[in-house]
Symmetry: C2
Subunit: 674 residues, 2 copies
């Protein structure tokens, strides 16, 4: 069975050896020569047996995912939208967990197991578990990379100030609010005598950090389908993507807090400063590495003609993105964070250099990996509720955690929104704030962080509680998104292209985007547009035009021939990610054609849509809420635009002459989450 | 660090835990509770350190692959074709192996290491090694699946009798010829006193089995580029795909040969019969499983409307194909073999049910996985020449092995070709036979089989020798393919579409394919066309037409609505895989347009082409050989068809009116290997 088993003989070697792509064993030459041990037939047979068992276990998961896919299809087919695929995966995981625990392996004492449903029963149950590091090294990276790679960039950059505020300050606030609240609860539990082990303040803070990572997949999938306001989408998506990074670095900084001396949980300024230094160092290091590999990929794809061979190009893109993760881990930074910023950089620069086929390929590849990894994590989550052996469900702690999570989210959203609104022209309405509050789902990152270490009593209690929080938020908050949207009168059916196209017509789009941002971002915009884009991609103005005259030869050498062609039309090609043929044509159909295949009902809708948009008559909230609650999926499926009245109305979808979209990508970016 | 490390504490737990997608640990509830051990800070720090080391090691490989990709691009860009990407990957692996061994880690005694270049020197060298099972469980499955999924099916089925003969009988013959030859050499070595350990007859046979798996990636890539005769391509590709399966089952049957009693290497009829039984059982079991999951996927994709959601469809396809592997491994069959037949079934049935987007996605996905896995294996191969610690290079054994491999290949190709030609209408010419002989490269499968067990002296010697065989065949035979083709006067520039289109015009295509096959295959064709295709796909005649009247309701229920539309035009949609728009249009350009962008040189070529094809004048071998040797890459790149004279000439590329190809797929299947 080879090298590795020589190192770990006797501990079921092939357990570890089976499905791992890259099990490395670094051998020193000195440690060879015991190869006679390999002849041990018994060991080999044991390994073979466990290999079979492992295959069977993994098969359970594959079947679970297959079942999930088929059910998702059924749901989509029947247009049933209250349960997202991740919620579904959790339910199937739960069912399999129940079967594995109570059904299959203990038929002899079946009856009394069912009677005594306590979680620590049935000592003979066979369990399916993964090494938690799998989540961090295999499953999370593609999810996070995909999040970065599929950021709707213009809307993201337009709101970048707010997003950064929510993601950084908000997560830190949330972490400390939750930590303090939990410390209060834990102190109370100690007094009451409900605490079965140690639980320090650092544990409370750690808990605060891990449950501060929001993951509104469900909500965003519904937003995507209903075409909810793009700014709200950008705020939520951007926040959730970035706060994953903040939470992961924050939690590792808290773990790094180790005061000198005996009492390892007292307050000490030096240790705290060190933790703060760790936070800054790890975050900026990971950021720099991610951006650096992204930039390198952009340069390679720009200056070679690799685009003639899409397979090579896609392979290079994949390998470079993977190497970001490995490089960060090898340097002691956080791979997942590096991968996130690598994804954003790749989308912003490299994507423009790729051949159309590679653009499709890379997007589809990471879409698939994201889909599989996400559903795998969520179904595993369902499974662990019954298969994890050291659950500590403490009612008081759980109640405290729910209260703390609520408070933490509120302390993040409302005060920060108030502060941000002081500076924003396009205010974040109170209904938007309520939706952001409501959409603070916890998902894959929270789970991965909490399962990573379940050695102590405190960590076990955290893990069990976290599981419940994830279940609750994904099922209840996720399922309640559509009613919530209609209750909060959030505009749906807003076409992101529409708005941007309208502003593009009057030529103020770029200025708009800039003016909505604070001055550091305006400087960044100019720098990016004048120097980075031309340097790293084929687009943008030629460097010869933007760089000082003294750098002429260098500028000529670095500018791509295509850039000169673009010189006349300096459009912002961030819109590449958003505009596409299909959308535009359906818009035309919407505006100019008065009757279509769906007949009278559509005409009815159009009337109420027009009324709601303020072009025909006054707003009629009740009727529209009803409309929204009853028939919104049909609306969306027919591509009809429904615009509800809001506090500060955006441009109504009036008849405008649209310019042909600049070089639309071949596939629909909005399909990135089905 | 979680569950797994609890099991394997003290043996560098995180070594195993890092990059594995699915490290399973099956815990019995009884074995819990030692969680206090987790607090061990030293263990954690050790784990972290080794995690970093592992990341760095894997990074070396990623960088190696990146470098390979860039060099491949350069080679393709400069149209240099003597070194295939796999050969290149090996060279880079070799270089890194040399650097790791002699360069980096032993700077203090650098000079004397370089002086004494013996392979077992430098005890302080750091080595990068994988668990060999990684090859079988992670890297080989996508390669083999891709091979099955990209079989050019019609040409494959037209030659299926010959392919099966070469793959089954040929591999068995080769195995025994090599085994016997090696036994002779080994006996001689024993007499001379050159053998440093045991080497039994079963070892010889095992060696015969593993080096009988041919893998002509390099050759086929060149064939693909040069458009070598499709039948030759089909014979070689089909043989190499299937003989991998035969060799892997054969080698495991030989390992299973264990006579009772003390002398475990004597001949015993019962044990041999048992081995034969193992062979049959494992092979047929793997075959049945692979086909079964393929059929299941076809049924699911046919009877659901999953095609509306390409992401779900692709994910399902991927998961079902992966589950084949796991199912086979869990049942004790061979996953790689099951995956091969699953791939063929998926290509034959499921592929027709997929949406065009999913067809692209699945092909591109497996193309990418295949590319990465293949290059990974080959670069690792290069690395092991210097990094493997137990090499046994025995000059006599190596010479013997080369002789045996040559004899084994000859005993496979020539006698079987003679026998096959007795029955074939379209004879396998002697030049074809020489090329098949020459193209018997050894590659990934041989390497994976030989590295799987390197515990004994015999196995170590086999491994070292196998490495050399792979290097030699890939570099020498692979690089010599183009000269060999021109030396053997093999027709290049034959368009697979052309031939098939021509036969399609006179309506005899299906009959041709059938008539070239023996009666069992004719029965299979009819059954497949009348029952399986309509049952499992949307194509073919409706079951209501082919099934007996009594099964009417069932037939109606199982027939897809599209099948009735196809009723009129019962074309064989195997051609879907071969025909496509681009090819046909370039053909038109070739035949009808007399001048094109490349000007006078093309006109010259056209003249000689026409001469060679026998439409203008007599053949002129010398000039054509020269043509072939000097400028063939330019020929191919411009899409000009060059047909050399052969023993029994096929249809010349005269002007024919082509029907529009039936529903051409959107992507070019010939791009499957760049």
């Amino acid at each position: 069975m080879g090298f590795a088993s020589r190192l770990s003989l006797g501990v079921k070697p092939s357990k570890a050896l089976l499905f791992l792509p890259c099990l490395f064993t670094v051998l020193l030459v000195g440690s060879q020569g015991e190869s006679t041990a390999m002849d041990n037939v018994a060991t080999e047979r044991l390994a073979e047996e466990s290999h079979r068992q492992d295959s069977a276990n993994l098969l359970i998961f594959i079947m679970l995912l297959t079942l999930t896919i088929l059910t998702i299809w059924l749901f989509k087919h029947r247009r049933f939208r209250f349960l997202h695929e991740t919620g579904l995966a959790m339910i199937y995981g739960l069912l399999v967990g129940v079967i594995l625990r109570f059904g299959v392996h203990v038929p002899q004492n079946m009856s009394n197991v069912i009677l005594s449903c306590a979680v620590n029963a049935s000592p003979a149950t066979l369990l399916v578990t993964f090494d938690p590091e799998v989540f961090f090294n295999i499953l999370l990276p593609p999810i996070i990379f995909h999040a970065g790679y599929s950021l709707k960039r213009r809307h993201f950059f337009r709101n970048i100030g707010s997003i950064l505020t929510y993601a950084f300050m908000g997560t830190v606030i949330s972490c400390f609010v939750i930590g303090l609240t939990m410390y209060g609860f834990v102190s109370f539990m100690k007094v009451v005598g409900q605490l079965g082990g140690d639980f320090y303040f650092t544990d409370c803070l750690f808990f605060g950090a891990i449950v501060s990572a929001t993951d509104p997949v469900t909500v965003l999938a519904i937003f995507n389908e209903l075409k909810v306001d793009v700014d709200l989408y950008a705020l939520l998506f951007g926040e959730s993507v970035l706060n994953d990074a903040v939470a992961i670095v924050l939690s590792s900084s808290i773990v790094a807090y180790q005061p000198a001396g005996d009492n390892s949980h007292s307050f000490e300024a030096t240790a705290m400063l060190k933790s703060f230094g760790v936070f800054l160092g790890v975050f900026s290091g990971s950021f720099a590495l991610g951006v650096a590999t992204g930039v390198m990929t952009a340069l390679v794809t720009k200056f070679t003609k690799l685009r003639d061979f899409p397979l090579l190009e896609t392979a290079l893109f994949f390998l470079m993105s993977w190497s970001t993760f490995l490089l960060a881990e090898a340097c002691g930074f956080t791979g997942v964070v590096a991968v996130l910023f690598c994804g954003i950089t790749q989308a912003h620069y490299t994507y423009n250099n790729l051949s159309p086929e590679s653009q499709d390929r890379t997007k589809q590849l990471f879409e698939l990996l994201n889909f599989l990894a996400e559903n795998f994590i969520f179904s595993y989550m369902g499974l662990t509720l019954f298969s994890f052996q050291s659950h500590v469900f403490n009612p008081l702690f759980i109640i405290g955690a729910f209260v703390a999570v609520f408070l933490g989210r509120a302390a993040n959203i409302y005060p920060l929104s108030f502060l941000l609104n002081l500076g924003r022209k396009n205010k974040i309405g109170s209904n938007f704030q309520h939706v952001m509050m409501f959409a603070g789902l916890r998902g894959a990152m929270t789970f991965a962080l909490s399962i990573r270490d379940t050695a102590t009593y405190a960590r076990q209690m955290m893990f069990s509680t976290t599981l419940l929080i994830v279940f609750f938020t994904v099922w209840i908050c996720g399922g309640g998104t559509t009613p919530m949207l209609s209750f909060m009168s959030i505009p749906v059916g807003v076409d992101s292209d529409q708005e941007s196209s309208v502003t593009m017509v009057d030529g103020s789009q770029r200025r708009n985007t800039k003016h909505e941002s604070a001055w550091p971002f305006r400087i960044w915009y100019t720098f990016d547009h004048n120097y980075l884009k031309p340097l790293l991609t084929h687009s943008g103005p030629p460097l010869t035009a933007t760089m000082p005259a003294c750098c002429g030869p260098l500028a000529r050498c670095l500018t791509s021939p295509q850039a000169y062609e673009n010189e006349g039309q300096l459009h912002d090609d961030d819109s590449d990610f958003i505009l596409n043929d299909a959308n535009v044509s359906s818009m035309y159909a919407d505006v100019t054609v008065s009757t279509d295949a769906s007949g009278s009902r559509t005409v009815n809708r159009k009337r109420s849509t027009a009324a709601a948009a303020g072009t025909g008559g006054g707003p009629s909230d009740e009727g529209l809420d009803q409309e929204l609650a009853l028939g919104e999926h049909e609306l969306v499926i027919r591509g009809t635009r429904l615009v509800l009245p809001m506090d500060d109305p955006v441009e109504p979808p009036t008849t405008v002459t649209l310019p042909p979209p600049p070089s639309p990508p071949r596939s629909d970016p909005r399909r990135h989450r089905l």
